[in-house]
Structures are given as structure tokens and as C-alpha cells.
Subunit: 146 residues, 2 copies
DNA sequence: TGGGCAAATTTGGGCGTCAATGGGAAAATC
DNA sequence: GATTTTCCCATTGACGCCCAAATTTGCCCA
């Protein structure tokens, strides 16, 4: 099974477009994904992107809840109201609307980060900071390679 | 199956009209919906909008309740007394009467938020706040996107 | 091993179409 | 008769589609 791995930083052009890294596009192609589901990450200032299955996963969880509860409302607000389907253009580029910029602080460059089943869009410096914080966290919890 | 997804913020013009986002209009068209049922959300300061089926859904819920309970009374009061049917104009715009403004605080801009089977009208800053609160709530209950 | 060529990828714009918005005029309502 | 609502059109800006340049990557061969 192919997964989204590694990271890359690309530029946003004057029209607000950015190329999705070719390795990621070939993973999408192997999954037969044309429509990309994007939503704001719950913890980080990042956008998560994957196939329709990503949304389906959340909807299965939602279906288990009583639709009139606050929890069901909150979850729907995030995955439906906070999510979009988008398509890439013929060159494999993504149009970055305000939807993507508001939660991430993205301005003129984007870092793509593979997360196995999906990938993320980050503001480059925020990604570096999150990585550093993650390393520090692992060290503190005693999982060290040294 | 098409659903209402994502969010967008549009301006209200001098006549109190606002364009319903094109993606939402095409979902309505695919459902053959001409008359929109609108009512005040139970949890949030927002107006919910969908087809007649949305009202039918609540009436089914109502039918399950003992009609003499407080809950049945409240539900009927909200979905019947607090609901209206409206139509869009030829450009796909909605006329925002006081009905829409009172419980939402909407003034000169509206955020449309997809909720799968229906969509919502929010005052923009209230929507952002509700999203943030929902994220915080899910965090505590262990629902993580990681 | 290194250079050089070829292919793929990223980046930059032109242009047409559609959506959002603004405003005037006609029609309906009170 | 006056106010509100609906229709119509005009402008603006965003987005998709197409093609071209520049940069990077990988491969082959000397």
C-alpha cells in the first residue's frame, strides 16, 4: 500500500495556486482519488487533505451519535462546515482560497507534509516549529534512539 | 450523493439580500428544492436551512415524543412557530428579514456553513468562535485527528 | 566519475466563463 | 399612493482551462 511520506515546500503563484508534490499526486492517482476532501486539523494550524474516505471515516463516527446532541453538532460543524471538496487543475495545482489561509496563516509558500493516509498543508515556519516540538516531546517521554 | 459542505462568507447588499453560494444552490437543484425551510438552531445562534424534508425529519422526531411533555412543546414551538418557508430570487439570493437577524446577530455579512443535509447562516465571528469551541470540546473527549 | 541530454516537475500568464455584487425599473403589496 | 419585493442588466472579480518558460531530476554514455 502506498502512503503519503516526507515533506516539500512549494511556492504560491500570483493567482494563489500551488503545485501538489508529484509523489503525493501519484499516491492519489493510485487510490483513484479525483476529489480531495480538505478540513482544518483539530489540533494544529494545518489543513488535512485526503480522499473521500477521509470524510467517510468521520461520518461513520457521527452516525453512531444521537444527531440532536451537542457532540454530534460540534463534530458536524467541523467536518462538514469546516471541510471542502476540491479538485486539482491539469498541472496538479491546488487553488488556495481563504478557506486554506485563515486557519494556517499560509501566505506565499506552503509546506506539504505526508501523514500516511492523508497529507497536510502548513505554513513553512509553523511546520518546522511543530516538528521541533514533536521531537522535544518524544525525548521527554523517554523514547530515544541514543 | 451530494451534500452541503464547506463554508463561505458573503456580503449583504443595501436591500438586505445575500447570494447563496453556488455550490449550495446546485445541491438544492439536485434535490429539486424550490421552497427552503428555515428555522433557528437548537444549540447555536444560527439559522438552519434545507428542503421540506428537513421539517419532515423533525416532525418524525416529534411524533416519537409524548405530546404532553415539555420537550414536545418546545420542539414544536421551535420548528413550527420558529420556522419559515422562503424562496430565492432569480440570481439565487436570499432576502434577510429580521427573522434571520434576531437570533444570529447577523448585520452586514453572513457565513454559510454546510451541515451535510442542510446548511446554516451565521454571523461570521460567531461561526469562527463556535468552530474553535467545537475543536476544544472534541479534544477533551478524546476525538483526535492525529 | 563527470558531463550532458532528456524527461518530468514546478512556475508563470492569457483568456473565457461563471459567480458575487450593485443598482435601476417594473410589479406586487399594503 | 407609497413602500416593499421581484426582475433585469451591468460591473467586478474569482476560477478553470489552456499553453509556454524555467527549473529540477534522472539517466545514459563517454
Amino acid at each position: 500500500m502506498s502512503r503519503f511520506l516526507s515533506n516539500a515546500t512549494n511556492k504560491i503563484d500570483a493567482k494563489g495556486r500551488v503545485s501538489v508534490p508529484a509523489p503525493f499526486r501519484s499516491v492519489l492517482a493510485s487510490m483513484d482519488v479525483e476529489e480531495l476532501y480538505c478540513f482544518q486539523d483539530f489540533h494544529f494550524p494545518a489543513i488535512n487533505i485526503g480522499g473521500p474516505e477521509l470524510l467517510a471515516r468521520f461520518e461513520r463516527r457521527l452516525a453512531e451519535l444521537d444527531p440532536f446532541t451537542q457532540e454530534a453538532n460540534d463534530l458536524s460543524l467541523l467536518i462538514h462546515g469546516g471541510g471542502v471538496f476540491v479538485r486539482l487543475d491539469k498541472e496538479g495545482r491546488l487553488a488556495l482560497t481563504d478557506f486554506f489561509r485563515v486557519h494556517t496563516g499560509i501566505e506565499d509558500e506552503v509546506t506539504f507534509a505526508g501523514r500516511a493516509e492523508f497529507f497536510q498543508l502548513w505554513r513553512p515556519d509553523a511546520f518546522l516549529a511543530a516538528q521541533a516540538a514533536a521531537r522535544a516531546g518524544l525525548k521527554l517521554s523517554g523514547t530515544s534512539s541514543r
